[in-house]
Assembly symmetry: C2
Amino acid sequence: MVKLVVDCYGGDRGPSVNVEAAVKAVNENNDLKIVLSGKEDELKELLANYKYNIDQIEILNAIDVISCEDIPTVAIKRKTESSMVKAFDMLKNDPECGGMVSTGSTGALLTGAVLKIGRIKGIKRPAFCPLMPTIPGGFVAVCDSGANVDCDPLWLEQFAMMGNLYLQKAYNNMNARIALLNIGTEEEKGDMLRKETYQLLKNNVSLNFVGNMESRDLLSGEYDLVVCDGFAGNVLLKSTEGACLELLGLLKKAFYKNAKTKIGALLLKDEMMNIKEMMDYNNYPGAVLLGCNKTMVKSHGSSKASAIYESIKLCYKLKVSGLTDAIKDSIVIPEVEE
Amino acid sequence: MVKLVVDCYGGDRGPSVNVEAAVKAVNENNDLKIVLSGKEDELKELLANYKYNIDQIEILNAIDVISCEDIPTVAIKRKTESSMVKAFDMLKNDPECGGMVSTGSTGALLTGAVLKIGRIKGIKRPAFCPLMPTIPGGFVAVCDSGANVDCDPLWLEQFAMMGNLYLQKAYNNMNARIALLNIGTEEEKGDMLRKETYQLLKNNVSLNFVGNMESRDLLSGEYDLVVCDGFAGNVLLKSTEGACLELLGLLKKAFYKNAKTKIGALLLKDEMMNIKEMMDYNNYPGAVLLGCNKTMVKSHGSSKASAIYESIKLCYKLKVSGLTDAIKDSIVIPEVEE
């Protein structure tokens, strides 16, 4: 049986969505045990609304909460009774516990992952790898999306390798098309970081490197994994998301303009709902944090139960398929190092 | 009278759109003289289709063309008979010539600007400053959009100052809301470049610095000028543009799905056309190159005549309003330098 811990506090919607997701996940999978970290009385009350096998859900009492206003390092060190720190402690100390899902502070999660769980030996930096739905259907993974703002070419090569293994283990994609985010498609484009990374990716035989990708092609469906530093990755994802949301907002306004447009909108309702559904991150799991000794998945702060449920399923799959071991095996550690 | 040179070759649509734009511009403005750089016989033939004051349009014969495949430095140095190099030579040597518009290679334009026209004394790096339409209407300027991939905080401060003066001179915006592109809105966010730039912008009394902007808010209408390095600026603009285009493509497909959706689409036709129109870069001028001794405007390679016409109008306005002198006056050159 796989045991996962779910940090139930720190997200925008409170613990109820976490409880709902956990119940759904265990009811669909006999091999899964979930530990809910958070205020015991509140979690018990929420659980009372559901039917589930009581052997599959457990509560880890934690009376404190880390918020997005907390300074990550301070919070991880001092808020020892918080749901996130207690979840980290279980993940660290309980060999049975195979992974963690959280909707809490991204900064605190990253800090806790490094300080409590630790990097895989040889991995320079852990990196977030979220998925983005593409226009033809399917998705594209982006690594790193914000964990590392100042990067080395070697780190980016590791992001590519880790992301590649992630797509193999989670989605059985054995030949992921990997691109480097750049400001042009030609080999010589970009700054020093991009130029050096390009050569590393090109010469890495474990990768199906297809060259540079311009940011406008993110949603084209032509790439499975885009490698970038965390600053560019954040700009890429948030501007794409922002543009889509702004444009949909503009359309909505146009659709409600007058009687004629309202009828038009009514006739297009199904198609518009499909597009909205396709772009709703609540249908996708969160960002996996790659490169630490155990698997962690960060769900969006405003995740609904459906998104957390997807994150739990992903975390389970990554534990069972052995992603962490695969990353360990892929890393060649120079003898002079460490 | 203001004299501008228009490089008529190197764009995707050939010289005809440049000629059309030039004729429209001179017919609306008695104070404008345009020199068309390119193949004399072809340009003459195109001009024969129009009525205009012959004193206001002149041809500068140039038999060669710089293409996007040419290596910029090589092309600028060796293609001495190209329409772009001849335009640069006129801009450099003719004191009457106040500015240049081109749809040609961005790299070649930047190289020619630095090598032939030169940076304003004290300006570290010239930077491109294009405009992006925002959702509530109006636009936001982004500087730098791709001229400088590796940047210093001091350069970014100059981009802010030059962009600010540009908005003053071209659009009479005397209190532009200036933001720093970052991965979070808090002061301490981002990499070293962002942290140091934040302090410079905050302490620069000539700027109305409103803090960090996340990329998802580019189209919100809350900012007039966004400052960033050229790599991030390129990612920001192209992912925003790409997402909008992909989403509009998806909508188009949905609208043509069946008889019902086609009727719906017909009822929404006016509104959809408005949105498309609003987002069409052919209704906006190109990116001004800030920081050189004369004004240059780079229009999109696939510009229609309308976009080139807007670029010519902008170039005229910047010459008349004295943007270059304003930038010169704003730069405090340390005595130890140069």
